[in-house]
C-alpha cells in the first residue's frame, strides 16, 4: 500500500530540515561569539555605566570673618521641595488635593522673605534719570556687571504645570525626586515637614546656601555666589565642578573662589534601573571643607564709616559716594564703603527679575564698586603728587615762593594769565587760569609749598607744574612719571575683580584721542587734578598713604589670613609693598606738613577736621566734572554757570604716627571741605573714641581664635 517513493521524499526533506537547524544554530553561535568575545569590552563598559554612579558630596564653603571674628558670609540650610512620584497618592483626586495643599503652603507669604534692605529705587535727589556720559570725563565709566549667573527665581508653578512636570518626570523614573521649588522660606519648610503625614510624596531637602549677615554693608567687598554662568560651564566642569555647583561671582567670593571652595568628596555606588542606591563601593572620599577668610575689614568701623557716609550724602542731597579707611602702616583696608549698595543675600537666594532690573537700571550703579571701578577727576587731593615731585626734582625748595601777586600781573586776584601758544606777544589772547579763591575776590599771594597745600592754592600748582614766565615748571613728563610712581594710571592690585586703572594722560594719548597737541594749559589742569586725569578713590587713598607713611606704596589688602575649618591659621598675608617711592623722606615730610597745616592752621581748607584728641592731617578736593544729564549736548551747569563738582577729602591720623588713612568721595557733592570733610571727621571721631561702644555688633556664631589687632609691628618693612 504504502508507496516507497513517498517516505523517501519525506526523508530527504527531513534531511533539509536538519541542515536548516545546523545553519541556524551556527549563525546564532557566531553572533554570540561576536557579542560576547569580539565586542565584549564595549558591552562590559556599557553594563558598568548602567550600574555605577559617582555621587559628589559638596564641600562646605569657607566662612568669611571680619578681623574681629564677626561673620560676613556663612552657609545656611537652603530648603528645597521635591516630589517623589512613586510616593504620591495613586488616586487622582487625592493626588490633586496633596498638590493643592503644597501650593497653598508655598504661597503663604513669609515675613522674612520681604525685601530686607529696602533702599528706594527712586533717586533721592529727584533729578531726572536721563542718560549721561556723553563726555569722556564722567562719574563712573565702569559698565554695570553683566547678569552673569544672577539666578532669577521663578514663580511657583500652578497645579496644572506641576502635574505636567510630575508626569514628565515619572516617565523617566518614578523614584527620582523631582525638584519643584528651591529656596523656600524656612517657615514654609517647617510647615511642610509638620504636615508630611498628610502630604505623601512631598519631601523637604536641605542644601547649603550662602548667607551674608552684614548684607548690603559689606556687599561690595564680599560679593556673592551663584550658579555657574551658562557660557562657562564647560571651563568649570573641567576644573572639577559639578554643573549645579555655585561659585563666587563677584567680590572676594570670586577672587578667593579656590580658597573658599574646598574639595568635594564623592561616593561610588551601585544603582538599579530606577536609580535607587543598592550599595556603596569602596571607601567614600569625604569632602574637605573650604578655608575661611579673615578680613582686614573691621565690621564695627565699616558700620561707622557707612553711617558717616550716609549722613554726608544726606547732607549733600546725593546718593552715591565712597569712603575707604586703610592702615597706612601696611595697606590693610579697614573699611570700604560704596553707596548705593545692594543686598548680596538677594543674589545668593536667586534674585527676582524685578529686583534685578531695579538694581541694573539705577543710574547710581549700586552693583558697581565705585571705590575701585569708578573713575573720577581727583581735584585738589591730587596736589600732593606735584608737590612731592617738585621737591624731589628740585624744581622748588620748601622755601620757594610761587603764586599770584601784583608784581606778576598787576593784581593779586587769584588769576594768572597764560600767553597764547601762537601769539605770546598779544596780551589780549592770554588765557586766564583761576584759583578757587578768585571767586572770593582775592588771591593767595606768594606762598611756599606747605601753605599752598594748606590753602590748596591752584595758581601755585599751575606754576609749579606747567611753569610760568621765567619759572621752569615740572613739565608733563615728570608729573606723569610721579603720578605713576604714586600708583595712578595702574591697578592697585586689591583682591577684588573689576578694578579700573584710571588714566594718567600724556601728549601721545591726547593726540590719539583728541587729535590735538598737548598745551601748557592741559598741564595746568592736571596739576590741580582736573582735565584728563582720572583716578579711583582707592588709588587716591593709596597715594595719600604713601605720603603719610613716608614713601611706601602698598598693595591694598582685604584678607588678613586664611584659617581651616578648626580655626587654625593656614596662611598670614604679609603686607605687600608695590614700591618704595624714590622720594627723599624730608621731601615727603614737607608734603605731610602741608596736609597738617590744611587741618591745623586756621586758614587751612580743612580746618574743620581738627580734632581735640588726635592730630589729623588732610587734603580737600573739589573736582569739576562734565555730565550731560539733561542731554542738551552741553555739560550741565548750575544757575551761576559753574560745573558740578565731586567733593573729595583725604586724611590720615595721628599725624605723628599715622594708623588710619581715609578717602572720602561724595559724587556731585559740591565742595570737599563742606561735603566730604564732615564724613571723615565723623569716622575719625568714631575710630579714636573706641571706649564708647559704637553700636550693637553681631558676635560670631562660631568662636574663632581671638585675633590680636594688626599693627605695624608685624609688617615686613
Amino acid at each position: 500500500m504504502v508507496s516507497s517513493q513517498r517516505p523517501r521524499r519525506s526523508m530527504s526533506r527531513v534531511l533539509l530540515l536538519r541542515i536548516a537547524v545546523v545553519l541556524a544554530f551556527v549563525t546564532l553561535a557566531g553572533q554570540l561569539w561576536r557579542l560576547q568575545i569580539v565586542q565584549g569590552d564595549t558591552f562590559r563598559w556599557r553594563a558598568n555605566n548602567n550600574r555605577f554612579r559617582v555621587l559628589p558630596e559638596p564641600a562646605a564653603r569657607g566662612v568669611i570673618y571680619d578681623r574681629q571674628g564677626s561673620i560676613l558670609a556663612r552657609n545656611l540650610p537652603r530648603y528645597q521641595v521635591v516630589i517623589v512620584p512613586e510616593d504620591l497618592p495613586e488616586e487622582e483626586v487625592e493626588q490633586a488635593r496633596v498638590l493643592r495643599r503644597l501650593i497653598r503652603l508655598l504661597e503663604t507669604p513669609s515675613p522674612t522673605s520681604a525685601g530686607a534692605n529696602g533702599h528706594s529705587p527712586v533717586p533721592a535727589t529727584g533729578r531726572s534719570p536721563s542718560l549721561e556720559e556723553t563726555l569722556p570725563v564722567t562719574e563712573t565709566t565702569a559698565a554695570s556687571p553683566a547678569p552673569s549667573g544672577a539666578s532669577i527665581a521663578p514663580a511657583f508653578p500652578s497645579l496644572e504645570e506641576l502635574q505636567a512636570q510630575i508626569s514628565e518626570a515619572a516617565r523617566e523614573s518614578v523614584f527620582r525626586p523631582l525638584l519643584v521649588s528651591d529656596n523656600i522660606p524656612r517657615d514654609a519648610a517647617l510647615l511642610i515637614q509638620e504636615e508630611s503625614g498628610n502630604l505623601p510624596g512631598i519631601q523637604v531637602q536641605v542644601q547649603p546656601r550662602r548667607e551674608y549677615p552684614s548684607g548690603a554693608l559689606t556687599a561690595a567687598i564680599v560679593g556673592y555666589t551663584g550658579p555657574i554662568p551658562r557660557e562657562s560651564v564647560d571651563v568649570y566642569v573641567e576644573q572639577g565642578y559639578a554643573q549645579t555647583d555655585e561659585i563666587g561671582l563677584v567680590g572676594l567670593e570670586a577672587t578667593f573662589e579656590d580658597v573658599l571652595r574646598g574639595e568635594a568628596g564623592y561616593r561610588a555606588i551601585v544603582v538599579d534601573v530606577y536609580g535607587r542606591e543598592v550599595r556603596g563601593i569602596g571607601s567614600p572620599q569625604s569632602p574637605v571643607p573650604g578655608h575661611n577668610l579673615v578680613l582686614t575689614i573691621d565690621l564695627e568701623l565699616q558700620r561707622a564709616v557707612e553711617e558717616a557716609l550716609r549722613n554726608g550724602l544726606q547732607a549733600a542731597y546725593r546718593r552715591a559716594g565712597v569712603a575707604i579707611a586703610m592702615d597706612p602702616r601696611n595697606g590693610a583696608v579697614l573699611a570700604l564703603v560704596t553707596l548705593p549698595s545692594y543686598d548680596n543675600n538677594l543674589f545668593a537666594q536667586g534674585i527676582s527679575a524685578k529686583a534685578y532690573a531695579e538694581l541694573t537700571e539705577d543710574l547710581d550703579y549700586p552693583l558697581v564698586n565705585h571705590a575701585i571701578s569708578g573713575i573720577y577727576p581727583p581735584g585738589s587731593v591730587f596736589k600732593i603728587i606735584p608737590a612731592a615731585a617738585a621737591l624731589e626734582e628740585e624744581v622748588i625748595t620748601p622755601r620757594t615762593l610761587l603764586g599770584d601777586s601784583e608784581r606778576l600781573d598787576g593784581a593779586n586776584d587769584g588769576v594768572i594769565w597764560l600767553p597764547n601758544k601762537y601769539f605770546p606777544w598779544d596780551r589780549r589772547q592770554d588765557q586766564p587760569f583761576y584759583c578757587w579763591v578768585h571767586k572770593l575776590g582775592y588771591g593767595h599771594g606768594r606762598i611756599n609749598v606747605v601753605t599752598a597745600l594748606a590753602v590748596s592754592c591752584d595758581v601755585f600748582f599751575y606754576q609749579l607744574s606747567g611753569g610760568h614766565v621765567r619759572f621752569e615748571g615740572l613739565g608733563l613728563e615728570t608729573l606723569d612719571q610721579y603720578a605713576q610712581l604714586f600708583g595712578l594710571g595702574q591697578l592697585t592690585g586689591i583682591d577684588l575683580p573689576a578694578e579700573n586703572p584710571g588714566l594718567v594722560p600724556d601728549a601721545k594719548w591726547k593726540r590719539q584721542v583728541y587729535g590735538q597737541s598737548w598745551v601748557t594749559g592741559d598741564t595746568y589742569n592736571i596739576a590741580i587734578g582736573q582735565g584728563f586725569v582720572l583716578v579711583t578713590p582707592l588709588q587716591m587713598l593709596n597715594a595719600t598713604v604713601a605720603v603719610a607713611n613716608g614713601g611706601y606704596l602698598y598693595r591694598p589688602r582685604l584678607v588678613y589670613r586664611t584659617t581651616d575649618a578648626n580655626g587654625e591659621v593656614l596662611q598670614n598675608f604679609a603686607p605687600e609693598l608695590i614700591r618704595e617711592l624714590p622720594i627723599a623722606r624730608e621731601h615727603l615730610e614737607v608734603v605731610r606738613q602741608g596736609m597738617y597745616e590744611a587741618v591745623n592752621w586756621e586758614h587751612g581748607t580743612a580746618a574743620n577736621a581738627a580734632l581735640p584728641n588726635v592730630t589729623v592731617a588732610g587734603k580737600t578736593g573739589t573736582a569739576e566734572f562734565f555730565i550731560d544729564r539733561n542731554q542738551d549736548g552741553w555739560p550741565d551747569r548750575d544757575a551761576e554757570g559753574n560745573l558740578p563738582t565731586h567733593a573729595w577729602f583725604t586724611a590720615f591720623a595721628p599725624y605723628e604716627d599715622p594708623e588710619i588713612a581715609l578717602v572720602i568721595l561724595i559724587e556731585g557733592g559740591g565742595e570737599g571741605s563742606k561735603a566730604a570733610l564732615p564724613v571723615a571727621v565723623e569716622i575719625l571721631q568714631a575710630y579714636f573714641a573706641p571706649e564708647e561702644p559704637l553700636e550693637f555688633t553681631e558676635t560670631a556664631g562660631q568662636p574663632i581664635e581671638p585675633t590680636e589687632p594688626m599693627d605695624g609691628v608685624d609688617d615686613g618693612q
Binding site: S3, R6, P7, R9, S10, M11, R13, V14, L17, R18, A20, V21, A24, F25, T27, L28, A29, Q31, L32, W33, L35, Q36, I37, Q39, G40, T42, F43, R44, R46, A47, N48, N50, R51, V270, V271, D272, V273, Y274, V278
Partner: protein
Amino acid sequence: MGWTMVSRRWRDFDYVLLVVTLFLIAIGVVMIYSATVNAPELEELTRRQLIYAVVGLGLMGLTAVIDYRLLSSLGLVLYCITLGMLGVVFIVGQVLVGAQRWINLGLSIQPSELAKLLTIIVLAKFLSDHEEDIGRWRYVLMALAILIPPVVLIYLQPHLSSAIVLTAVGAVMIFVGGIRWLHVTMIGLAGAAAAPVLWFSLKGYMQKRVLIFINPQGDPAASYNIEQALTSIGSGGWLGKGFLHGSQSQLGFLRVRHADFIFSVIAEEFGLVGSLLLLLLLFIMLWRLLRIAEMARDDFGRLIVVGMATLIFVQSVINIGMNVHLLPVTGIPLPFVSHGGSSLVTLLLGLGLAQSVAMRHRKIEF
C-alpha cells in the same frame, strides 16, 4: 504478552531526549529564580514554573504511554476544539498588554499555545491521509485551508509572532508531507505579492517593532529592551559574571528577563560557554526529534514529530535571534526555559507524543 511488549516499548523510549528535556527545564527554573530573586513581586514565578514542569512531565509520561495512533480518529474533533478554544478567547479572554490571549480558569492559560499542538496533530492527520494526493494543487490548498483559520484567529488576538510560528510549522509540515517544489515556489511568490497588504494590516506597535529592529536608533525609548539585552549578553564574556551576579539582570536594567529575555540572563551570568551549552542542548533535542521522525512507522507519527521539532526550532531561533539582535523583538518564549505554564505544558505534551511515536516505531510486535 503484556509485560514483554511494554518493556520492549520502553526500550525504544528516547532517554537522551528525556535527559535533555529535564536539563532544559532545570536551567529554566534556576534562571527564573535568578531573574526574579531581586523582584519581590515576581517571587512566585519560580515555584509556579516548577509546578508546571511537574504537571507537564506527568502529562508527557501519560501521552508517551498512550498510542498516538488513537488520535488519528479524533482529527475533526480536535480541529473543532482548536477553533472553539481560540474563539472563546475573544469572548471571555483577558486583555493583558493590549491583546486578548489569556483565558482565566483559576489560572490564566494561553489557548494559542495548545492550539499550536492541536493544529500540528490535525494537519498531520490530513497530510498523512492524503499523502499520495499532496502533489496535487487542490490538496495543497486544502492543507492551507486547515492551517489558515487558527493562524488568522491567533493573529487577530493579536499575537503576530505566534501566528508566524504556526504558519512556519504548518509550512514545514506540508513541505515534509510531500508538496512539489513548483507549488512551494508559487506559494512563495503569492506570499511576496501579499506582503505589502500584510504590512499595512499590522498593528502600529508591530510595525514599530519591525522598524526598530531595522533601525534601533529610531526610537531610543523603544529600543531600550534590545539595547539592554545586548549589553547583558555582551558583558557576559567567556564565562559570565556568575550565577546571581549579572548586574544587568539583578539590578533590573534587563526587562522581561524571566520570560522573553531569559536567554540574556543566561548569557550574562554564564557567558559564551553557558549560552553555547544551552544551544547545544536545544540542538541535541532537535536532532533526537528528527531522528524519531525518520524512524517513525507511519506518516502521521512522522509529521507530528516534524511539527513538534519545527515548533521548538522556530521558537528557539526567533527567541534567541531576538536576544542577540538578529531578529525583531517579539513575544515568543524560549522553549522549556522561559517562564510560562501554557507553553511548557504544551511542549511537554508534544514531546510525550514524540516519545509515543518513538516507542512504537517498530512494525513487528511480539
